[in-house]
């Protein structure tokens, strides 16, 4: 299902563009307001909702349902996108769906001067008040992404496209995005047909620099079944210090794009597996919507043995 994530600076018209795009594509519009009014009240009381409005750090606390608010929100977003095409504004969606094959990540920006002038007009503010509002809004977004995902919100490499609404209006931007979505859908269909009917999906791709020969073997097995994969496409922060800096992160070896599954191979001896198991446990707690499988040494060698044993393909 199509996912368009929209990250926007205050006063950049990101909300307006997302609403127009949702209308033009017939896609559901998911906003922070919807999350605050419909999803989070299921697990948060009035005080907790207030804290969630105010403090990104509060999202890391465990909620009454046993998982953190951040994990709950991610869970809701992941089930929401399974229901149909979705336009998601903010909520760290550009990182939650960073590697989703059907996702398009947009950032909407404009110069400070343009944004300030829009805020002055929209909220009847003077120039100083508008500048303060703008600065506060941007800071909140930045902290949310840094606190929950350990990433820089303004890092251009997180997005497919950055739109400058100082040079175009919301209607023009939305129209442009409709065209981008259409082009990507057509290209994806054609790529899928080719992958299924001709050569293995990854056959023509330049192999990545694997860190371990076992990973290369495993990639060959996936290629054998034309199952598309990416190598270490995403890093999940799993532990932070008091300042919100990431102190432990986990990058699973493979991501099976079509089946939304991460796979971690471990060919180390059992005594070295403890730290990895700890990371896995934390990952599952913090990102409960993530499908991840760990393949231990014995399982991996048993898998290899089966493939070397005269072409037993039935798996």
């Amino acid at each position: 299902m199509l996912i368009v994530t929209v990250s926007r600076e205050a006063g950049s018209l990101g909300d307006e563009i997302a609403a127009l795009l949702s209308m033009k594509l017939g896609a559901a519009l998911v906003t922070r307001q919807l999350a605050m009014e419909q999803w989070l009240p299921e697990i948060a009381n009035k005080y907790e909702l207030h804290m969630l409005e105010e403090s990104p750090r509060f999202y890391l606390r465990p909620a009454s349902c046993g998982i953190s608010y951040a994990a709950y929100l991610e869970q809701r977003l992941r089930s929401e996108v399974l229901r149909g095409p979705s336009i998601i504004v903010g909520l760290g969606s550009q990182l939650i769906f960073a590697d989703a094959p059907n996702a398009l990540h947009i950032r909407v920006t404009a110069s400070d001067e343009v944004r300030r002038s829009r805020l002055m007009q929209s909220y009847c503010l003077d120039s100083d008040e508008a500048a303060r509002l703008m600065e506060l809004g941007d800071r909140k977004h930045k902290r949310y992404i840094s606190m929950l995902f350990g990433k820089d919100w303004s890092d251009g490499s997180l997005y497919h496209l950055t739109l400058n609404t100082g040079k175009m209006d919301a209607e023009e931007a939305a129209e442009m995005l409709v065209k981008v979505v259409e082009t990507r859908e057509i290209r994806k269909q054609s790529a899928l047909t080719q992958a299924v009917h001709s050569s293995p999906a990854a056959g023509a791709r330049k192999p990545p620099a694997f860190k371990h020969p076992a990973e290369e073997e495993f990639a060959r097995i996936l290629d054998m079944y034309s199952i598309e994969w990416e190598y270490e496409p995403r890093t999940f922060p799993v532990e932070w210090d008091a300042e919100g800096n990431v102190t432990m992160a986990f990058s699973p070896d493979f991501y099976l794009t079509r089946f939304d599954t991460y796979i971690e191979l471990t060919t180390m001896d059992q005594k070295y597996v403890t730290r990895k198991n700890k990371k896995m446990r934390k990952l599952r707690e913090l990102y409960p919507g993530i499908n991840i499988r760990i393949v231990y040494k014995n399982d991996f060698y048993s898998l290899l043995k089966r493939f070397n044993y005269g072409g037993d393909t039935k798996e």
Binding site: L192, T193, A195, V196, H197, S199, P200, G203, R220, I221, L222, D223, M224, Y225, S226, I227, L256, R258, F259, D260, T261, I263, N291, R293, V295, D299, S302, L303, R306, F307, G311, T313, K314, E315
Partner: protein, 178 residues
């Protein structure tokens, strides 16, 4: 003449008959008015699909797929390809893919992608045996006969070096390790 492998029965003929009837009843209920296409993967699934479809109380089409390994241009491992493709057009139809056994899900993943490219109205999986502990590919199984461990199973269509497919029950070979 090859020496007979030692094996012990895991699922008896009667147990199989009862479980297959239950799954057939469930599918008949779920697919009422949908005229599904039942697709079986050769050769392991042929007894199961034959017995299962005879328990259906709704009309259904039946087709078969087979896969094999071909030498790959770029890979030592080879490439899995369809050796027998569908004859029924499944586009816009409700499809149930019937498997004898799902372990890692790699075969299932390959076939799932193939069937999905035909754009069926829906696509669900029915497997007689499932070992979720070995699963690598995340595909939901809608109908499951039995959950098993990592036993080497034979019978009811499943083989060891092409033998034992004819056994009317499912057994574990105890003198061969997987």
């Amino acid at each position: 003449m090859r020496k007979e492998n030692q094996h012990k029965i895991l699922i008896s003929e009667e147990q199989l008959r009862n479980r297959v009837t239950e799954i057939g009843t469930q599918i008949s209920h779920d697919y009422q008015g949908k005229h599904p296409v039942i697709i079986s993967v050769l050769r392991g699934g042929f007894y199961f699909v034959a017995d299962l479809t005879r328990q259906l109380t709704i009309p259904a089409h039946i087709d078969f797929l087979a896969i094999g390994v071909y030498p790959g241009a770029t890979s030592k491992t080879g490439v899995v390809r369809i050796t027998k493709d569908l004859e029924v057009d499944i586009s816009g139809r409700h499809v149930i893919m019937v498997e004898d056994i799902v372990r890692t899900g790699l075969t299932l993943g390959y076939l799932y992608q193939h069937l999905e490219s035909h754009k069926p109205a829906s696509l669900n999986i029915c497997t007689l045996l499932d070992n979720p502990d070995e699963r690598l590919v995340n595909i939901p199984i809608k109908y499951r006969g039995y959950t098993i461990g990592d036993e080497f199973v034979i019978g009811y269509g499943m083989d060891y070096k092409e033998d034992y497919r004819h056994l009317p029950y499912i057994a574990e070979i105890i003198d061969v390790k997987r």
